[in-house]
Symmetry: C2
Subunit: 358 residues, 2 copies
């Protein structure tokens, strides 16, 4: 390969993988780009699983199905050796190599003739996996292919670390949202799990409406956070058995605005933007009779309409201090009575589809 060419290929791969922050997507993208960049028949990125003492990889099988995993012992075959020694290995012809295990290759579903394997290092020189290229489409792998693949492996190591950190931060935030909403709901034993239920129904409606995955994820967080303003409502009101007085009801309704106040202090990342405004609008009604702002029709964002349907359905089916929970069909009759005057008919249909009702 022409040396200037190397730099270009490396840049192409860096560009392609440097901004992917989902480990699963990243692994598949790396394997795809390696196959193209090195004109190989197959490329495998094995990651080390220290708990199980194995090297594992994802197997892409198409978009519909969640890719399954392939696992080998951490000291098995040539990849195992590269992982142990942290030295690259180039085999022009496996038939002439004494250390090639045909048996293991058959288990992984492909027996290559030529192979190139390099370790993937983490900052601080810990080996976190290996990259394995199988069969060049024309000719075979040679020693002078090694430097470029090693350079790519550095980029792969950095991208993997970034993806892991990104996912760890996401898990931290999401688990905090979950733990807090659970604890808040639990202030009233009868509303325990309300936020998790609303998140679940809202995601279901979003999926039935074929919203993009990022919006479905948004709805999950919004479902968990929509009632966060109940922090500001006294338990005497939250847990009162029987009807609320007009003044108590007014206090209860305040929670939507409190939610907006609290959420607007949070510097949400791009993917969760508009959380404060929309999550606080989960009690708005299409006819303008809702709160906190009495918005009507198109002024209520789709996501807020989804939350409204999810919220009401859970409120109706769960037992409350002032009445026992309704069975599903009864709750849907009440919801039908509010549609299309107050609730969005499309969202209600999507809820029914999610619940398995035609």
């Amino acid at each position: 390969m022409r040396p200037g060419h190397r730099l270009e290929r490396l840049i192409q791969i860096s560009r392609a993988i440097g901004s992917i922050h989902d480990e699963r997507e990243l692994m598949l993208a790396i394997m795809r780009h390696l196959t193209t960049a090195f004109s190989s028949e197959r490329s495998t990125l094995y990651l080390h699983d220290p708990v199980r003492g194995e090297l594992w990889t994802r197997v892409a099988q198409g978009l519909e199905h969640w890719p399954s995993e392939l696992r080998i012992p951490q000291d098995a075959g040539l990849s195992g050796r590269v992982f142990q020694t942290q030295e690259p290995m180039c085999i022009a012809d496996t038939l002439e190599s004494s250390c090639f295990s045909r048996r293991l290759a058959e288990q992984t579903g492909y027996v290559p003739r030529s192979m190139l394997i390099v370790p993937v290092m983490r900052t601080g020189s810990q080996c976190i996996g290996v990259i394995q290229l199988l069969d060049r489409r024309v000719g075979y792998f040679r020693e002078d292919d090694v430097p470029l693949l090693e350079a790519v492996a550095v980029q792969v190591g950095i991208a993997l670390e970034n993806a892991r950190l990104h996912e760890a931060q996401k898990r931290q935030f999401n688990s905090f949202v979950k733990a807090l909403s659970t604890a808040l709901d639990a202030r009233d034993p009868l509303t325990a799990l309300h936020s998790a239920n609303v998140a679940n129904y809202a995601m279901g409606i979003g999926e039935m409406l074929c919203l993009p995955p990022a919006d479905v994820e948004w709805l999950k967080i919004a479902g968990l956070l929509h009632d966060v303003g109940k922090i500001g409502v006294p338990e005497a009101v939250l847990t009162k058995a029987g009807r609320l007085t007009p003044q108590e009801f007014a206090e209860m309704k305040q929670h939507a605005e409190y939610s907006r106040n609290i959420l607007s202090q949070i510097e949400f990342t791009e993917s969760l933007k508009d959380m404060a405004v929309i999550a606080a609008a989960h009690h708005e009604k299409l006819d303008g009779s809702g709160y906190p702002d009495g918005l009507a029709g198109e002024a209520i964002p789709l996501k807020a309409r989804i939350l409204a349907v999810a919220d009401i359905y859970d409120a109706l089916t769960q037992t409350r201090h002032y009445r026992i929970g309704m069975p599903m069909h009864e709750a849907l009759v009440v919801i039908d009575g509010m549609t299309p005057g107050q609730l969005d008919a499309t969202c209600v249909r999507a809820l029914k589809a999610f619940l398995g009702i035609r």
Copy 2:
């Protein structure tokens, strides 16, 4: 430069900058590594500030001082031109270049003879800044230096994007912690700001004890979250005027364990690990008379001892339902009375130092 050499330099820079997630640190590291890798006298990374229509950079002045910024109009000079055209520019000799502005160079404090400038692109081909190398230590910059610097610029673009995403996620998490703890404290008007105060005192003690910045940051989050378990304590107990009955006091004490339960559901990242165990231990006393576990002496982690001192100092100086707040010196007399029996003497000294008392 020998072509294989280019790949090696690129790898070196990638390794050096790929895992830095603090934008400020990253900018300074990039400039440092560029200077070495290209044997230049100076290297500047200008970032675009779309709000002010400027290109700006950090000026490293040593470790003690926060680096200040240098700003130029986004269309000024050669860097402005590269930013606008997104085309690299190589000037062997500024004396022979008609487009070089000596006046602007003088403003930025350095007049170069030879320059190499390339744009920094973001995924999606938006230009986010420029890299500018000033004066090769021996000789001058040439056209064949451009490809490597362009390749480095790709890495810089990716690293900057990752750092920004990382910081955005951190801000999201931290602002959520802040907003929630503020809302929780506000359930009782007399404890409003308690968590923020404890965070502040705990950070102050940590700094006086010369703990590493990461630990001081840890103490901030712990201060904000230590009382999160009060979610589970009814307002009737939280806001009762006058002495609590033994049963009410038992309910109040439950909050430490509730904090542990809630925090243990959060998948904290590495930098915030042990939050659940340590933050829940903020009512433990050295003589074993504290709660929830009655730990004694060395069994109480340093960070928990710091939180204990911060917590008690704020509780004493703020007005409570059962008594009015004490002035600083009076509170410190009470704290001295609890030291070293219950409170850590070193932490108490550090609090006094932070408060400016000898």
